[in-house]
Symmetry: C2
Subunit: 246 residues, 2 copies
Amino acid sequence: MNFRSNIFNSHSKEDGDFFLGITKILGFKPKMLGVYKKAFLHRSINKKDENGNPLNYERLEFLGDAMLGTIISKYLYNEVPGGDEGYLTKMRSKIVSRKHLNELGKDLNLIKFVESRIPKSHFGDNIHGNVFEALVGAIYLDRGYKYCEKFINDRVIEPYVDIEQLEGKVISYKSLVIEWCQKQKKTFNYNVYEDTGNDALKHFAVKLSIDGRVMAKARATSKKKAEERASKRAYYALQDKMENRN
Amino acid sequence: MNFRSNIFNSHSKEDGDFFLGITKILGFKPKMLGVYKKAFLHRSINKKDENGNPLNYERLEFLGDAMLGTIISKYLYNEVPGGDEGYLTKMRSKIVSRKHLNELGKDLNLIKFVESRIPKSHFGDNIHGNVFEALVGAIYLDRGYKYCEKFINDRVIEPYVDIEQLEGKVISYKSLVIEWCQKQKKTFNYNVYEDTGNDALKHFAVKLSIDGRVMAKARATSKKKAEERASKRAYYALQDKMENRN
């Protein structure tokens, strides 16, 4: 995809492709397409607006970073009523860590929208997280707080945030499930298959069976994540039994 | 005022006083009074909620700090289209500096609501800024983003934020006005008087006259601020003349 030729002309074929691509990722229709385009303009392209101000995603990144922090803060405030200010701050920095944001941007394959003079293969990992933040900034300007909250909830919190795992109390749900099965002398099977469906990006589905019975299903952007998610579901389903295992 | 005896009982005389006091400061009616009460509970009182979690303003401070940063970010994004990410970050830290937040909390006289075992005279300056942030956190939980935005706009941005002054381009509008008057051989007079009106806190009004004619009026929580604000208004009114002064 290449919008270089007509970045703010809103009726081209390229705009149509961008609109469809971005709508899939957002889960809603953008109102001001221009602000989303800006979220993918790398400074190397040296664009300027009509007043001579540089046009790239860095200012949106500043905005998105702040909004992301606020929404994660509210989530943690509600989710961890016993955590003090220091604890909440620590958990928030884990969730919005550079590494984590890069992973999010990569999973959404945001880099395919990036416009740059530098070949994409020359970018480091941070470009993924940076445009993810810029995208949040664009949503904020285009549709306001509520849409940001929903987007962050759907794309960050729901799929990735697990307080127990962040606290280091649970390292892997899969290993907990396997351990339990071995102790209980039960067979288990992770059946993994590609299941991209209507999604903008590749997805995998997993069926976890224990003693031949399907205990949990899950979908995610990698096999490992899908297995972990299915294991977590099975873990909660089995929790009563597992807690009595010792 | 003392709510110690019945902090979450919602029909007492003390609650009524708190409701009226806080409504004046907020500029709207709170829905969940309890969350505002929490914004003024100092940890020294050692309160716990029904689940044994500590009940004080520190968690709300965490939330309010994030929300304040987001709203100031959006303001700067719109207000300074030529500022890059680094510039925006620097300006934001000036606006939400500890010193500035303490001043805001002090101007609103928030400390009168604070419940603590430590005598208020023993607190340092930071208590003012901390409860200001906690109050923003309470608004966020009670009424959501829009009300936070309006509160911060009315209480922080409109009265205090001046980009030119923050940039150090203008140190004092009053001195610019005086300098101009002296060069132009004009007389000037700052007529200051108390004008608290219906406000929850003491206010001062200023009339700035040049050659006997009232050029600008302003109101603020200190004489100095009111003078500065009136000078700024006069400065913009006179700007054409002043720009030709050399």
